[in-house]
């Protein structure tokens, strides 16, 4: 069997259990929230419009954005309540995911329950009053059973949405079946992507069918169908959650951004920790801003970031000092402001560079960004998803007065594809990316030093700064990965023929940790 399928199946119980736990919690919360709100909306017609509109508004926010919004929201909330409860709320992972999915699932439940309750025949309501039912008795004995089929249809819709939407929670660091999809997209592991989609779809289908059984049971007043549906849901959920019982302790949480090098380095760190007898779990696919704050607040323990990224994005600096000076200032500043420790540099740089196909560049006579700027109005620029909103881009554009005919964003893999296909002429590449050599790209010089240095640094969260296991495990990595080695590992994952998983590339790197490279180290 394909090694990627074996890999996918190996992590399935864990991904599935996380996915089911998240979806089930969100759905139950949405039902618990949505049904009483529906009763409220039906009893107080004045509340009906605001409630339904609010729920519909939430629906219009894209799922990914809603998840992302909960991160700063919870951070703010955590800062508010921390003095009161003496602890902080986790702003990454399960909590933001479950809250966002719950809000998302409320609308179909609320709307259908309102429709179901309003649809109960007025004569039946009058009869219920006339035989002497209290409002509560009328709701429980008459309105609820009669509204149940329509309300159940809403719960079914919500369930399918929730299971689908839960795949997005990977982005805020919650493990789900989305981990297959996001890491697969980055590493062009289409088996992973398909596997993730198929697993989520199968889960949604099975859940929908079981809920459908309950719906039919409610419509036909068939208690057996309802029981069978409930039993199926209970057994399925319990079975899916089994791996969570007696699973490994939480251990160290390693963060990774959303590209191959980050996946490989996270796996490498995990491998080092496991070699020291510790357990580790990965939170992959986090955005640049989210991941640093997650580290500062202790949601993750360790990850690799790049000096230039921190310099411009976290410190908000626009000057470009020499490499060593930047590293020194950065380390001091992070320790002072966030109690985040820079453990050391890995030995390579992964800078943002502008790259072109070599023959295209020579045809245009371009070797530097300054030369590029003159031709830019005729050229199309492709970037990754965040470059255009990063300060580096403003700095670059300001320094060279860059003004392209078109600017398009891609996920990194598709960005290289777009360049190869000629859809764009210039891309924002990563200097450690193996595809620069593999696709024979020309990296344009930056004569005005608009882009700072990007030394890869291991960062440690405040609460792990005195952790001896972590230090012992990661010490061999410091200065041990030259850029050629990193490019090689990246290319193993990113190449279109015979790619390997990030885990395998990490094992390749682990076996070839070099003699200490000569790059700068923080004090």
């Amino acid at each position: 069997m394909d090694e990627r399928i074996t890999d996918a199946v190996r992590v399935l119980p864990y991904y599935l259990s996380q996915h089911v736990l998240l979806s089930a919690c969100a759905l139950v919360l949405a039902v618990v929230l949505g049904l009483p709100l529906a009763v409220l909306a039906v009893r107080h017609p004045r509340l009906r419009w605001p409630l339904l509109t609010a729920a519909a508004l939430i629906q219009t926010i894209p799922g990914l954005a809603l998840l992302a919004l909960f991160y700063p929201l919870l951070l703010g909330l955590s800062a508010l309540v921390a003095p009161l409860v003496g602890g902080s709320l986790p702003a990454l992972g399960f909590l933001p995911s479950v809250l966002a999915l719950t809000l998302y699932a409320v609308l179909p439940i609320l709307r259908n329950a309102v429709a179901g309750l309003s649809g109960v025949n007025a004569d039946v309501i009058e009869a219920a009053n006339a035989v002497g039912m209290t409002r509560r008795q009328r709701l429980l004995r008459i309105e609820a059973p009669l509204a149940a089929p329509v309300a159940m249809a809403g719960i079914r819709t919500a369930a399918v949405w929730t299971i689908g939407g839960a795949t997005l929670s990977t982005v805020v660091g919650q493990t789900s079946l989305g981990n297959y999809i996001f890491s697969g997209l980055q590493t062009e592991n289409w088996i992973f992507v398909l596997f993730g989609c198929a697993a989520a779809a199968a889960l949604a289908l099975v859940t929908d069918q079981l809920l459908g059984l309950i719906e039919v049971g409610a419509t036909r007043r068939n208690g057996w169908r309802i029981l069978a549906g409930l039993a199926g849901l209970a057994v399925g959920t319990a079975a899916a959650l089994m791996p969570l019982l007696g699973g490994p302790a939480r251990g160290y949480v390693i963060g990774a951004k959303n590209f191959s090098e980050q996946f490989i380095l996270a796996e490498l760190i995990a491998e080092r920790l496991e070699r020291e007898g510790a357990t580790a779990q990965l939170r992959e696919g986090l955005g640049s801003a989210v991941i640093f704050r997650a580290l500062a607040s202790g949601d993750i323990d360790v990850y690799v970031d790049y000096s230039g990224t921190l310099w411009t994005n976290v410190m908000g600096r626009h000057d470009v000092p020499p490499r060593e000076a930047m590293l020194r200032d950065l380390s001091r500043w992070l320790a002072e402001h966030y109690h985040v420790e820079v453990l050391g540099a890995l030995g390579f740089e992964n800078a943002y560079v502008l790259a072109m196909r070599r023959e295209r560049a020579s045809a245009l006579g371009v070797t530097t960004i300054a030369e590029l700027a003159r031709q830019a109005p005729q050229l199309a620029f492709g970037s990754d998803l965040e470059f255009l909103s990063r300060p580096e881009w403003s700095a670059l554009r300001g320094a060279y007065a860059l003004n392209f005919r078109a600017e398009r964003s891609y996920s990194p893999t598709f960005m290289y594809r777009a360049l190869a296909a000629g859809d764009v002429d210039v891309i924002s590449a990563f200097s450690s990316d193996g595809r620069i050599a593999a696709q024979d790209l020309l990296v344009l010089d930056d004569p005005r030093h608009a882009i700072p240095a990007y030394d890869a640094l291991i960062l440690i969260s405040p609460r792990r700064s005195a952790d001896p296991v972590l230090r012992r495990a990661l010490a061999p990595l410091i200065g041990a990965i030259p850029v050629e080695r990193m490019r090689e590992a990246n290319l193993m994952v990113d190449r279109s023929t015979n790619p390997v998983t990030p885990g395998e590339a990490a094992r390749f790197l682990a076996g070839r940790l070099g003699p200490k490279a000569a790059g700068p180290q923080p004090p």
């Binding site: 025949n121 006339a130 002497g132």
Partner: protein, 264 residues
């Protein structure tokens, strides 16, 4: 000889638009125990509103309703309604409950023992002339007339002394309507009920009721026996309304005699 009335409607007024117009205005009616009272009047004359104030399905703005001297406003609505049977044009059987469960609902709300509910359910089903096999059926398997019989059974299940009816047979075809009307009148006598029935059909009122209350524009225009009202000339509106059955009977007789002549 006349004892205190069982139901007293005392100067009851009700407005649905904050006092600009009144659905019922200072209506007073006294009903003695055992009476069968029909309330007639044009659409919008306030008869249904008046009826519903008795079991507090509608709260009056002013005035008072007393049952055996006790103001109904002092009894909780659901508690009051469990003691009073109610049958209306909409029938309102609970579609998700079997006929037996529908009939037994008020005894169940009153906390009767299960066995007593089952026995009473069979008893009232027989009273309204339906076979016992119907107990396990759902309402949608019954005809309109059968459903209204079930509604009558449901109203009688908890042994109420008072039954309120709002156009109870309005949705039924004339033959069924006549049959159920007469059957109910027999039950009224047999069980010693006190019935107030709202109807727009004066003929039905004359044929079934001991007394007729005529309502016009929210007020009680007349209250007397059918015979007295049909003879009265006091109020032109009332006499016009009460002349209807006789006029219809005369027209029917004319048609019959014409048909007889034609045949001959």
């Amino acid at each position: 000889m006349s004892a205190a009335p069982l139901i007293e409607i005392d100067k009851v007024s009700k407005s649905f638009d904050g006092g600009r117009s009144f659905a019922v205005r200072e209506a007073s009616v006294a009903v003695r125990a055992g009476a069968f009272v029909a309330m007639v009047g044009a659409s919008g004359s306030g008869k249904t509103t008046t009826l519903k104030t008795i079991n507090r399905l509608i709260e009056p703005d002013s005035g008072e309703i007393r049952i055996e001297g006790m103001p109904v406003a002092e009894i909780e609505g659901p508690v009051l309604r469990r003691r009073i049977g109610y049958v209306f044009q909409g029938i309102g059987l609970f579609p998700h409950l079997r006929i037996g469960e529908n009939i037994g609902i008020t005894p169940q709300l009153l906390g009767w023992p299960t066995a007593a509910i089952a026995e009473r359910t069979r008893e009232v089903l027989a009273l309204v002339g339906l076979p016992e096999a119907y107990l396990a059926r759902f309402p949608d398997a019954l005809s309109g007339g059968e459903r209204q019989r079930v509604a009558v059974a449901r109203a009688l299940a908890a042994r109420p002394r008072i039954v309120l009816m709002d156009e109870p047979f309005g949705q039924l075809d004339p033959v069924t309507r006549d049959a159920i009307g007469s059957a109910y009148r027999a039950l009224h006598d047999q069980l010693g009920l006190t019935t107030i029935m709202v109807t727009h059909d004066v003929q039905e009122a004359v044929l079934l009721a001991d007394q007729i209350v005529v309502m016009a524009a929210g007020r009680v225009a007349a209250h007397d026996t059918p015979r007295a009202l049909m003879a009265s000339r006091a109020d032109p509106d009332v006499s016009a309304l009460m002349a209807m059955p006789r006029r219809q009977a005369e027209r029917v007789r004319a048609v019959l005699s014409d048909a007889g002549n034609g045949d001959g």
